[in-house]
Symmetry: C2
Subunit: 598 residues, 2 copies
Amino acid sequence: MAQQFFSRRNLQFMLYEVLQAEDLCNYEYFQDHSRDTFELIIDTVSKLATDVMYPVFQDMDSNPPVYADGIARVHPIVRNYMQECGAGGWINPYMSYEFGGQQLPSTVYTVIGFIMGAANYSLSAYPQLTGGAANLLVNFGSKELQDLYLAPMLAGQWQGTMALTEPNAGSSLADVKTSAEDSGQGYFLIKGQKIFITGGSTDATDNTVHMMLARIKGAPSGVKGISLFLVPKFYVDEAGNLQANDIFCTGIEHKLGYKGCPACQLSMGDNGSCRGYLIGEPNKGLAYMFQMMNEERVNVGIGAASKATAAYYAALEYAQQRLQGRKINDKNPESPQIAIINHADIKRMLMFQRAISEGALALGLQVSKYIDLAKAGEESEKNELLIDFLVPIVKTYPAEMGILATSAAIQCLGGYGYCKDFPVEQYFRDVRIDPIHEGTTGIQGQDLLGRKVIMKKGRAFQLFKEELSGTINTAAEIDQLKLPAKMLEEAMIMVEQVTSHLLQTAVQGDTERFLSDASLYLEMTGILTIGWQWLLQGVAACQALNVNVSTVDKNFYQGKMLTMQYYFDYEMPRINTLCEILTRNEGFMSDVPLETFV
Amino acid sequence: MAQQFFSRRNLQFMLYEVLQAEDLCNYEYFQDHSRDTFELIIDTVSKLATDVMYPVFQDMDSNPPVYADGIARVHPIVRNYMQECGAGGWINPYMSYEFGGQQLPSTVYTVIGFIMGAANYSLSAYPQLTGGAANLLVNFGSKELQDLYLAPMLAGQWQGTMALTEPNAGSSLADVKTSAEDSGQGYFLIKGQKIFITGGSTDATDNTVHMMLARIKGAPSGVKGISLFLVPKFYVDEAGNLQANDIFCTGIEHKLGYKGCPACQLSMGDNGSCRGYLIGEPNKGLAYMFQMMNEERVNVGIGAASKATAAYYAALEYAQQRLQGRKINDKNPESPQIAIINHADIKRMLMFQRAISEGALALGLQVSKYIDLAKAGEESEKNELLIDFLVPIVKTYPAEMGILATSAAIQCLGGYGYCKDFPVEQYFRDVRIDPIHEGTTGIQGQDLLGRKVIMKKGRAFQLFKEELSGTINTAAEIDQLKLPAKMLEEAMIMVEQVTSHLLQTAVQGDTERFLSDASLYLEMTGILTIGWQWLLQGVAACQALNVNVSTVDKNFYQGKMLTMQYYFDYEMPRINTLCEILTRNEGFMSDVPLETFV
């Protein structure tokens, strides 16, 4: 195991030097907070991550949950950790005081998630999912349901889940078939199957509370007939006692990674008595779910960034210590071997990992700040549109690039990277889930190009461009940043041109062709967006370097400048290729006849 | 498990329509062969792969070797399979009759390796390694050693290995420390440690014969003092009896994938009595090893192509069967769901996999044909230079792109792709070894740019360009290929320009800066090379489509044309980006100070 799995220094840089997160405390909602409370919280979480989570990172992978008697028996640490999260307030720190939260900015909550994910992504999923489910209950559930279910969830005694997927309804949620029939007694009778339900039934908590999508009998077909239900493993009866519900875990998946947290198969209503409690109004379930989805997707992106970060530090530590080979110009075989970080190829792979992981983290924090501003009532419409636009990117760029970054970490370690003595192969496996869960990359691409780019007559896209222009203008005033500022501007213009080109097809009504390469459009926009985030970091680093700084800080800021330069010189040019593809091949994929696939 | 794991039709296309492999039989060395014998051999191997290898593909992964009492206990199938390979002549079919081989062209042997690798890569490694070790013995060993050790190896009774790597000598073989001292009794006393020795000590065969690098006491330091030894687990004594040698397996690695074949740690001479037999002359060990390395590196590339191919067929089968979603233009939620292969995004991912895997296979076969021509005495110098030039590419392109191709296969299956019920996650793990073993991508990059491009005053590079030009000229005569021919030509010119640019730095003597982005140079050249291979396939497909063909064949050839178009439109433009990077950033990586990595 590597000594380090994240950089506290980088978090401070991002929070206070790039994003001015302490300014959020000027808003009423966050007024009890300050840089001091943020730091105290981050201290505490770092300690939990270092002392409790990281030490069992590999053990949870080697000893994945075992299914027996309708339950997934998970690693014993999970129960302790959930209780600790409940006691520490780590499940819902962003919630209002009314619901027992700390009114912590999302920006800082994202840092918490990042640190926990870097320490042990599987373990971090349990409280995060519980928080997400609790948040649905807070936002859309009745007072009665809140009174019964919220407290034990937030205390870490009951696990929460998001129960969407079914055997025939994955990406196509319109096809959810789980049924709900009003019993006339304050609950619905649920019947159906769910699969891939993370944390769906474990022995780490005494109860599991599912936020489940189902279709009320007689409801319209498609997405307009989906309702949201609270379906507990044990429901609270009229006398306040827990009663076993008619829902069973029938098995768990055996996965490539992310093994510490089970994906469960659930069967509801086998005995005709599975109780589900309607959340909010009928037929609005998907809308409710999607109101929470933005934050879940930010979480996925941050999770991917955290895994890539931990892999980077493992690779960096190895590269600094491992002696192998000599400088190419040194032909004397008797000179001592050098640390492999001296080799340009290793440096490039480290730089790549750093550019990806720190760029991805930066974007996650940026979107979190927009969430905070919207919540605080600061230009809420604008900030919400920015969030909407950026969500597919903040989810996908870290997820897709996280695969390449962790793969580069493996490559830095050579043969050892392929072996379980070092943690990098696990990060490579763990991160592979991220382009899949909470909406695949294909779905995100369609969301970006098919919805976000055109929504409100392109207003969100316009706001996004204005954010970039703001940074470009600031950077253009700084000598060392004139070149990257110009490169970002040119890239933005290119992305605009491709977008206009594609929109011509959309106008002709051929949505199929318009969206045929939407995933590549998302990839292109992602590269642009992370370029913006690096330029922002460049601005902060330049400003810091203009005053006297310690040697340690100077190395830090110069590292930022060099990583920014790497990003602009090595990553940004990929936009050109994608522009060329998107301009030239519009619709090609739609036209390829199925029978030619042999 | 998918029904199909490779395409016999594609192999026939490659062998007889693209490469005219049957023409090799006009050479004396191959004269006993014909298309019929090739097909018979491929039939037999296909049957072995389908009936014996593929059914245990997942089981060998789930039940990896267990280390106990100095041996790796491997899957019971290995012993049967090795015997079957021995009996069938699959260990050394390319060897001359003199040594019990079949004088089979490498082109066809590559097909054998490809089919076996697609069925079960781990299992295929055992005979392939044994063949490689036997080949060293044939080429450089004494008659006496050949008489004692060759027959049981070729019969599949004894395992062969390549024992190069040591704890402090991986990529830097100059630092091999294992020592050898002449006992004066016809053998040397070997002392040292080896690691990552594939198949280094298993219960599948009765003996293990290591081809081991060691340094004779008093030999020069560096690569000029390395000798090659045959170090058997049981040596044949003067009376012809087997005696236990002083070499022990002290443990095995726990790996990400490629689990069916153990990577062993070996300790030699703990009791001062490990016998090693010198192969060839002292201090020429590395040269001998590298004479075999070309073919081993082709094997790695073919192995990666085979895994990507099997993953493609698993993804294709799933995509054809899995119903999910509707055409984007279809807004009726009650219309039936469609097979996901109808979605453009899925088609693109399948096309990507096909372009990679079939392109990589094509290059492997192309290089194999050059090997055959050289062996047959046809323009040997030219063909050997082409082999030298292409080896780093044929090894690396499939290996690196294989990671992305198998990752795309996972993505086609969504959540199921992440689970062990389907084989694709295993291909993703198995293929990750390929950019590492037999020389990492970094090493291959330095080999290409630092050695192959400049060797013999650029003659190999020149011959490579002539091969491409030949194909371009042919294709330019065919209407449907004028455009890709032009694109390939432009790409080639771009690669030439980048090369000239880099060589200016080399001329200035700064090798460190010259080679600092050699891996990216290799990536760029790889994209160009596979473009050539697709254009060659396009020529053959066009010729076939110009005559009357059955519907099945028409679909096949049109699939080839579309995949070629995909490659030129979606993959080829990546060259532009790499050219830009290589032209602009020469030396940047060399200059990044170590202390800025934090």
